[in-house]
């Protein structure tokens, strides 16, 4: 009996500590998410802060429920928010009713596109073909873009209403901040930035860096307000959040007047959908390798798609994986979907009960945080490996520069095309070596690579080599055209086994023929010395 009591007490202690851990991890995540949510919605997407906060509550909750990964943290995302701003700013004035309606419509359209990626399985599988240099090029490009985008808010200047030629606008905005920026705003921004970076230098404070930066910026803003007066500093603050309710229902805008705008938004919706899916799939792939767990990337697509179809009806920004918050979950060591769901509930409680405190956060502090998050996306450790290989470096640079010089949709298309072209180019250039009479092929033998192989083969014949042996032991894949060519040559073949694609093999099995007729009928064609 006594032993049972001891066991019960130990179990209770364990569950209490597990509960405590879950609550603490949830609170940490919530405190990290709130400033990001507000900053992304106000400075990047051009919508009121409750859009980001709703995404931090409902987006995170839906993803925790739908995604089996134990460290997947959804919620507001910087590049998706920036894409919303880029799309809608030329169409109507930010923070207006029409703008908010169109933002919800854009989110819903992106959700529907994502749903297509889930329902049509090969389409979802295509996302796995986007290589790492493309994603890294994208992430770095968007990181720089975030820095540029926040410069005007950092200097207390109004946003430029249209965002094209971001590099040039960024330079103009930088000069404008130096010449006509609000010096109080610049001071607040710099205090936030310095505090945040200093906190990041200390291992223990790293997870609190964003929060401490915002706290320092807000306190300095309040100090300026007390000494100089808010009427003189003219620094913008987030504003009243006290009307925030638990659920804020909303309907995306689909009026007849808005139809031309909605139709013009379709490419942007596809971009937005792809931006979200790229990040979610890439994050799942990367965190799978880090944490040792395995989560199917298709379930990430499903979670994102369903969440993004629901969120526009809850006044929320779209959701996708957040690298920095997932990294935080991993580092806190609490791999649990409950902790992630609890973080969403913490956000709700904090916003309901600390709305007045959040309202006084100055906008330049928010801009400083977005700039810092953008800078954190430019990681030399991630980029460095790509520069060891010329092809990868090209793909990376094309993807990176296209974000800066083209619009996001063109960048997505161009980056993907370059990645596929690069992969095809690699496959079409197998390593063919001729040593004595032995021609060794490392790589693929298919219609694309045959010209390369044939030129070496006929070159050898032209040089008078008569008895050629083709060694295909290191071939990964031989397509039907490759097989036909191999059998047509007068050379002897070495190490030919079934290297057809999975699709061809399955088709052959269905037909009941394991190998091409020619090979079965004349086994001495393949002479292994």
């Amino acid at each position: 009996m006594k032993a049972l009591a001891v066991k019960y007490r130990a179990a209770a202690r364990r569950s209490r500590s597990a509960l405590g851990g879950t609550l603490l991890v949830g609170l940490t995540l919530a405190l990290v998410t709130i400033p990001q949510a507000v900053a992304f919605s106000v400075t990047l997407a051009g919508v009121p802060p409750h859009f980001g906060i709703n995404a931090a509550i409902w987006g995170v909750l839906f993803c925790a429920l739908l995604n089996p990964s134990r460290i997947f943290h959804g919620g507001p995302n910087n590049s998706m928010s920036a894409a919303i701003g880029v799309t809608l700013l030329p169409l109507c004035a930010p923070f207006g009713a029409e703008y908010m309606g169109l933002a919800l419509t854009l989110g819903l359209m992106a959700g529907l596109v994502q749903l297509l990626f889930y329902v049509i399985r090969p389409l979802g599988r295509m996302l796995d073909l986007i290589s790492e240099p493309v994603i890294n090029g994208f992430v770095c490009g968007i990181g720089l873009f975030l820095i540029f985008k926040s410069i005007t808010t950092f200097g207390g200047l109004p946003l430029n209403t249209e965002v094209e030629w971001p590099l040039w606008i960024a330079w103009q905005s930088f000069l404008a901040v130096l010449e006509i920026g609000n010096l109080y705003a610049i001071q607040i921004g710099l205090v936030t930035l310095v505090t945040c970076v200093v906190a990041q230098q200390f291992e223990r404070l790293r997870n609190w860096a964003v929060l401490s930066g915002i706290a320092a910026g807000t306190m300095y803003s309040q100090y300026l307000g007390a000494t100089v007066g808010h009427a003189n500093t003219l620094v913008e603050q987030i504003g009243n959040l006290s009307t925030f309710g638990v659920i804020s229902p909303s309907v995306p805008l689909f009026s007849q007047e808005a139809m031309p705008d909605i139709i013009s938004m379709v490419p942007s919706a596809v971009t937005l959908a792809l931006l979200g899916l790229f990040q979610s799939v890439a994050a799942v792939r990367r965190m799978n390798r880090k944490s040792g767990h395995y989560t199917d990337s298709r379930s990430a697509i499903r979670a994102d798609a369903i969440s993004n179809c629901l969120l526009p009806f809850l006044s929320s920004l779209p959701t996708c994986a957040s690298f920095n918050r997932m990294w935080l979950v991993h580092r806190l060591g609490m791999h649990s979907r409950i902790a992630i769901a609890v973080s969403a509930l913490w956000v709700l409680l904090l916003v309901l009960y600390f709305a007045k405190t959040i309202a006084i956060i100055p906008m330049p502090a928010m801009a400083a945080i977005v700039m810092l998050l953008g800078a954190n996306m430019l990681k030399w450790q991630d980029i460095k490996p790509h520069f060891k290989h010329r092809g990868e470096a090209t793909v990376f640079l094309v993807s990176f520069l296209s974000v800066l010089f083209l619009d996001l949709f063109d960048a997505v298309v161009l980056g993907s095309l370059v990645a596929i072209a690069y992969a095809k180019w690699q496959q079409a250039h197998p390593d063919v070596s001729l040593n004595g009479g032995v021609m060794k092929i490392r790589g693929n033998v298919y219609y694309g690579s045959l010209p390369v192989i044939e030129s070496v083969y006929h070159g050898a014949i032209a040089r008078g080599v008569t008895d050629i042996v083709i060694d295909v032991r290191d071939c990964h894949y031989i397509d039907p055209e490759g097989l036909r060519w191999l059998f047509m040559t007068k050379a002897r073949l070495w190490g030919l086994v079934d290297r057809r694609s999975g699709q061809d093999r399955r088709a052959a099995r269905r037909d009941g023929s394991a190998y091409p007729e020619r090979r079965r009928s004349s086994p001495d064609q393949e002479r292994t010395d």
């Binding site: 109507c92 005007t152 109004p158 249209e162 103009q172 404008a176 010096l183 310095v194 970076v197 291992e203």
Partner: protein, 365 residues
């Protein structure tokens, strides 16, 4: 755990960078203040115009123009020294946007050239007589794109996009498309000074907020207001050779003699871009309206609606820069056309000639 020295070095570098940035900002702010405190050296046209309207610092302002035209004196709130300088700078920016008459463009024209790609266009080319065109009797002219009347429609809805366009945003559109340039920040001094000048014009001319005036914008010429012969490129070219080539040149690339601009480019790299509403193939009614009301200089209102549309159609078919939202492919195509077409014309020897200049610098009639 990284070494403490590295960490300290990083923090020191950060503080140094942040401090440097702040000091640079303070220095730039001081420079700007100095430029704004400097007495303004007016261009000839601005000097004459502002003298005529008796702009001077004071408690109250009475416009001599209004007194002369109506016989009654309207008393308005006056201008401070700072206001007067802003208005003077605004007028200078309109009249000499490229700073050709300024000793130091960056301070005297407040970096206006930073926001324009070409070297020809100035605001006064469309908004003629520094945005306030009048005949010899002081009558304001219909369709003359007057800035004062534009200001009184301070926040108007854009007819094309349905967006609410404050006066400042309309100026930005001029920079982006009509000058084929870049937009300044909405809080930039460039925008503020021009707004101050336009607002002063509306006071000097006693214009009422929200009213519609004939000199506001141009009265557009739709195809239905013509002889309905269609917009003919060939007729347009013939008319261009007859009426426009003397000033704007054989390739419509403008005319510059001894670094003096005789007439601005209306096609080619120095002209407005293909996203501007002056571009005939984008909005087909504005350029014909402008031509009918304002061209050729000194012979305004002499061309028929059909002729204006024909000329506009010809000009619209000449190559010009792509707009910034038309994408890199269009930009490249237009660049190739702009660089290549003049060479082709030269090779073909089309025989278009420019007229010799008179002593005054104006082409001989």
């Amino acid at each position: 755990m990284r070494p403490v020295s590295t960490m300290l070095a990083k923090i020191a570098l950060l503080l140094f960078a942040a401090g440097g940035f702040y000091l640079l900002a303070v220095h730039k702010h001081q420079q700007r203040q100095q430029a704004r405190d400097m007495p303004v050296k007016l261009t000839a046209a601005c000097g004459e115009k502002l003298r005529k309207y008796a702009l001077a610092p004071g408690e109250r302002y009475r416009s001599p123009y209004v007194a002369q035209r109506t016989g009654t004196s309207v008393e308005l709130r006056g201008y401070s020294d700072e206001d007067v300088r802003a208005i003077q700078r605004g007028c200078n920016i309109i009249d000499d946007t490229q700073g050709r008459q300024a000793a130091d463009v960056s301070s005297e024209r407040w970096n206006s050239t930073r926001f324009i790609r070409g070297t020809h266009l100035a605001c006064t080319h469309c908004h003629q007589s520094a945005g306030d065109k009048q005949d010899a009797h002081g009558n304001r002219l219909k369709g003359s794109l007057s800035l004062g009347t534009s200001w009184v429609m301070a926040d108007m809805y854009d007819r094309f996009t349905g967006l609410l366009l404050p006066y400042e945003l309309r100026q930005m559109q001029c920079y982006i498309n009509s000058s084929n340039g870049y937009k300044p920040n909405i809080a930039d001094d460039l925008i503020r000074d021009v707004t101050a000048y336009s607002r002063f014009l509306s006071a000097a001319l006693d214009l009422k907020i929200g009213n519609h005036y004939e000199e506001q914008g141009v009265d557009e010429i739709a195809a239905s207001a013509t002889l309905k012969q269609g917009d003919d490129y060939v007729r347009g070219e013939a008319l261009y050779r007859e009426k426009c080539i003397h000033c704007h040149g054989a390739q419509a690339a403008g005319r510059e003699v001894n670094a003096q601009l005789i007439a601005p480019a209306i096609a080619g790299p120095n002209a407005w871009n293909a996203q501007s509403r002056n571009y005939f193939n984008y909005v087909s009614t504005i350029l014909p309206g402008f031509i009918c009301r304002n061209m050729p200089l000194g012979q305004e209102n002499t061309l028929s609606n059909q002729e204006c549309r024909d000329i506009a159609s010809y000009i619209g078919n000449l190559p010009r820069p792509a707009g910034d939202r038309q994408g890199p492919v269009m930009a490249l195509r237009q660049q190739v056309l702009m660089r290549g077409m003049p060479l082709l014309f030269d090779l073909m020897g089309t025989g278009q000639t420019e007229m010799p200049l008179q002593q005054s610098g104006r082409p001989a009639p």
